[in-house]
Symmetry: C2
């Protein structure tokens, strides 16, 4: 089909949020010619913040380039910022990428590596991202040069579909969207959810 | 908080579709009092149909009840129907559940176990599901008694949010929806995707 071959690095780390990674994975890994790599500090299995355990296929030491990097967020975002080998690897591999992407609080990890100037993130950590010197957008997906950031968790699906449309074709993105039947019917609108729920959740998330 | 304790069985099997499982997992496993179990034929790691490998926490032999069962689909749905130990386990555990649920082609597995009369599924396997004697709905989420089925892949998120609203409260579902920022912005509408893309994809999916 003449599609480019691409190596995609899906980054795994302890207490990451699984859906942040699996949303973009399901979109991107379905493209012909894509090679998916699940990269972590070691090859030991990694447990996500709700208990799902996933297995890396390679390590930061072994992987020195990638066409696309996908960095998930975490419900324990402060601890994630202490994952120095991952942050160092992001800084190392970024010059080799065509796209460096994040989902949810993953943008705070890109910020720690000094890779973003404008970004979105999970709504609960906007202040943190701003404190890292990043101009914070409230958009669901933000492109800044080759860095693409997505808002909280499920926004990674939207980000990845946009990346497919940009890098491949609209027809490719339409095909994937149809394959995963991404015609969402969320039960509530943002207005229906309202500020009390947000305040309660923010207190809970710490 | 007085929330009920519940055991949720997330079923793993070879070549399952990861997002079918991880969508509902991200929604349900965040509820306080939930115990998540990843159940498979053995404790060996299981590779999904796009290469992500996940680790079971228990086996069909060890788990004889669950409050909620979540059965994902597969891009290799015909082979999935040959996973007899899983189908036998679904039949065994179903009488113990409060909800038995599926995502995508997972409804064909519930059908093989004789557990559904009306269900939805991935659009590409509606004929297969009908051939199993099931009345096929094209809705995104279908409730039939305690069996809740979701359409393709991403529909599992909608299904799980509905389950939270039913079993817990609207406030609970709103909280989770906000936590995962499920305010989707899919790039295309169903009308924009159109029949040519669907025909091409159906040919590809076999």
């Amino acid at each position: 089909m003449g599609l480019p071959e691409m190596d995609i690095a899906f980054v795994l780390y302890p207490n990451m949020t699984a859906l942040d990674l699996v949303g973009p994975y399901e979109v991107l890994a379905s493209i012909p010619g894509i090679r998916s790599h699940f990269v972590a500090e070691t090859r030991d299995a990694v447990s996500a913040d709700r208990g799902l355990t996933m297995v890396p296929t390679t390590t930061f030491a072994e992987m020195d380039r990638a066409d696309v990097v996908v960095v998930p967020g975490s419900g324990h975002w402060k601890e994630a910022l202490e994952q120095q080998p991952m942050i160092d690897w992001l800084r190392k591999v970024h010059p080799t990428t065509k796209y460096t992407t994040s989902v949810c609080t993953g943008s705070t990890l890109l910020a720690a590596a000094g890779l973003v100037d404008v970004a979105t993130t999970h709504w609960a950590v906007r202040d943190l991202l701003a404190s890292q010197g990043v101009e914070v957008s409230t958009d669901r997906v933000v492109e800044s040069g080759k860095v693409i950031t997505a808002a909280g968790v499920s926004a990674g699906i939207d980000m990845a579909l946009r990346l497919v449309a940009m890098e491949f074709t609209d027809a490719g993105a339409k095909t994937v969207q149809l394959a995963i039947e991404y015609f969402p019917e969320p039960p509530f609108t943002q207005d229906e959810i309202g500020p009390e729920i947000a305040e309660g959740l923010k207190a809970l998330l710490g």
